[in-house]
């Protein structure tokens, strides 16, 4: 039984890492209804910028701040160069634009900082910690703590700040938001900046895990089943979806893997997502889409 719980806890903590990528998608989708395919590229861009600055001798805090500024810069540039010219176009057009944006960001990151793999050391020891008989990764615990703090900050921002109110208003009804004088472009900059900050956090944790390299932008593919299960526009859903995916894929790998020849954790989340689509297409926390005619 201890073994079961160890796998479960390990899976849940791994799931937190997926959630952190998914939350970036949720922010942009919530505010604009756009699936931002470039979120993965933003993770790569942030991690690569950070690690390159650190390697050039910048202190941790300065590098963090500079990368944050860079991500805000990306948000402003996206607002000017992509969102403004494509304002009021259907979501599919914007989705295609983010697809292009992901190539631009991946290219830019590697053009600026090179394409080699960087090791990233956040100074967190990845040693197992004995918690009442269960062995838990210290790094995973830190990651979970960071994720919890991130969700708390975002939730506070949504519900207690003026920018959050404007964002919820835009998410609820963009035309009504326009009618009360909310500046949609400014809200767009806020959301993309927040998504950039989330990408930075996710990039640091994932980068410390796997090394900072090109494949970091492919964690989009890990976030997709999480989003389908949790719903595209709920931060809580992204968190729950990540936990569910993380736990179930690890349990499936350990218990069902040997029967199916192993390696099933790569496709298992998609099967889960498929089932979810059949049963509850809007995701566990998503709101059903109501079409009034």
């Amino acid at each position: 039984m201890d073994f079961f719980f160890e796998v479960l806890v390990g899976g849940l903590l791994a799931g937190v890492m997926y959630s952190m990528v998914a939350i970036g998608f949720v922010l942009v989708h919530k505010a604009s209804g756009v699936f931002n395919f470039a979120q993965g590229a933003m993770v790569l861009f942030a991690a690569l910028t950070f690690v390159s600055l650190v390697e050039r001798g910048w202190p941790f805090a300065a590098a963090l701040l500079a990368t944050l500024v860079a991500m805000v810069g990306v948000a402003v540039a996206v607002g000017r160069g992509v969102l403004r010219p494509l304002a009021a176009r259907p979501p599919i057009v914007l989705f295609m634009a983010t697809l292009g944006l992901s190539f631009v960001l991946e290219g830019l990151a590697q053009w600026l900082w090179g394409a080699q793999v960087h090791a990233l050391d956040l100074g967190i020891e990845d040693t197992p910690l004995d918690m009442g008989g269960l062995l838990v990764s210290r790094f995973d615990l830190v990651a979970a703590g960071v994720a919890a703090a991130l969700v708390a900050v975002l939730s506070w921002g949504f519900h207690r700040t003026r920018a959050g109110l404007a964002l919820r208003a835009v998410a609820d009804d963009p035309l009504a938001a326009l009618a009360v004088g909310i500046d949609l472009e400014r809200v767009g900059r806020w959301v993309w900046s927040a998504a950039g900050a989330v990408a930075l956090v996710a990039g640091l944790l994932w980068g410390a895990r796997t090394g900072v390299q090109f494949s970091l932008s492919l964690i989009v593919l890990k976030a997709l089943p999480v989003l389908i299960i949790g719903g595209f526009s709920s931060v809580a859903g992204a968190l729950a979806g990540g936990l569910l995916v993380g736990a179930s894929e690890k349990l499936a790998e350990v218990y069902a893997g040997p029967l199916l020849g192993g390696g099933i954790e790569n496709w298992f989340p998609y099967v889960l997502a498929l089932l979810c689509l059949c049963w509850r297409p809007q995701g566990l926390f998503g709101e059903p889409r109501v079409q009034r005619i």
Binding site: T161, D173, L175, A176, A179, V180, G181
Partner: protein
């Protein structure tokens, strides 16, 4: 009234493809007045309001707000200039609580001041009881009031109301009419409204502009407009059409007096 008009329209023409919705309409709105735009269905009233609030851009003509021309800028910019509006079919943030809807309308001040201003408006419009409920679950009449509260939260200089009493019962209509008059008198807000209830319109308006088929056919004090032959004819045509449809035809004089009678009944 000799001062600069708060809003002035000159030769405003709006076309949708080949259809001319508004044809060279011009009038002034003076500071502090309540002006009603009336006219049969399809006369172009809502389109005109949408032009003023920046939703539609007219092909011809000029709009001036407090003397400065309103060029392209869209609804966001016009809202920030001090024009607030409500919509015929409501445009509320349905998933958000009543209070948050109203706070979203506040344009100035630190966060705490915005909240207290919104609370004061809820009290003014007697909405405190529903302050934490999502707007989407409230009855229609209350939603209309929330939308008005949100528009007032901007402390607008010009308030545009698109059928504020549509679909309301008599009590709610009276409340709404009283609120509009209070807003106009106490907050010195200039009001332009579209309304079909002629009793209310005659009661609360300082001036009427009558549209028919996109053209302005009358402009003046309620008493003058009421006796205007052109207006009677426009409503006569409307009445004849309506009556013929619903009652299988009556003589046109009877239909006309029925239409005008509904103005005088209240």
């Amino acid at each position: 009234m000799a001062a600069t008009p708060l809003l002035s329209l000159e030769q405003v023409t709006l076309r949708f493809g080949g259809v001319t919705a508004i044809h060279a309409v011009g009038f002034d709105v003076h500071p502090g007045e309540v002006l009603s735009i009336i006219g049969p269905n399809g006369a172009g009233k809502s389109s005109l309001l949408n032009v003023v609030s920046g939703v539609y851009r007219p092909q011809q003509g000029t709009l001036r707000f407090d003397g400065t021309p309103l060029r392209a800028g869209g609804p966001g910019r016009i809202a920030r200039l001090g024009v607030a509006r409500t919509f015929q079919n409501l445009a509320l943030f349905k998933g958000m609580p009543v209070l948050d809807n109203v706070i979203a309308g506040v344009r100035r001040g630190p966060t705490a001041a915005r909240r207290s201003q919104a609370e004061a408006l809820l009290e003014f419009l007697q909405l405190q009881r529903w302050r934490t409920q999502p707007v989407g679950v409230l009855p229609y009449g209350l939603q209309k009031r929330v939308e008005l509260a949100r528009a007032l939260a901007a402390q607008p200089r010009l308030l545009l109301l698109d059928e504020p009493m549509a679909g309301m019962n008599t009590d709610d209509k009276h409340t709404m009419a009283r609120v509009i008059v209070e807003v106009n008198r106490q907050l010195a807000t200039t009001v332009v409204l579209i309304e079909h209830d002629m009793g209310v319109v005659m009661d609360i308006s300082d001036r009427l502009v009558v549209l028919d088929h996109g053209r302005k056919i009358a402009d003046g004090r309620p008493a003058a407009v009421r006796g205007d032959p052109g207006v009677i004819a426009a409503y006569l045509g409307q009445a004849r059409h309506d009556q013929a449809g619903s009652m299988g035809g009556r003589d046109s004089v009877g239909a006309a007096s029925a239409a005008i009678g509904s103005w005088r009944a209240t």
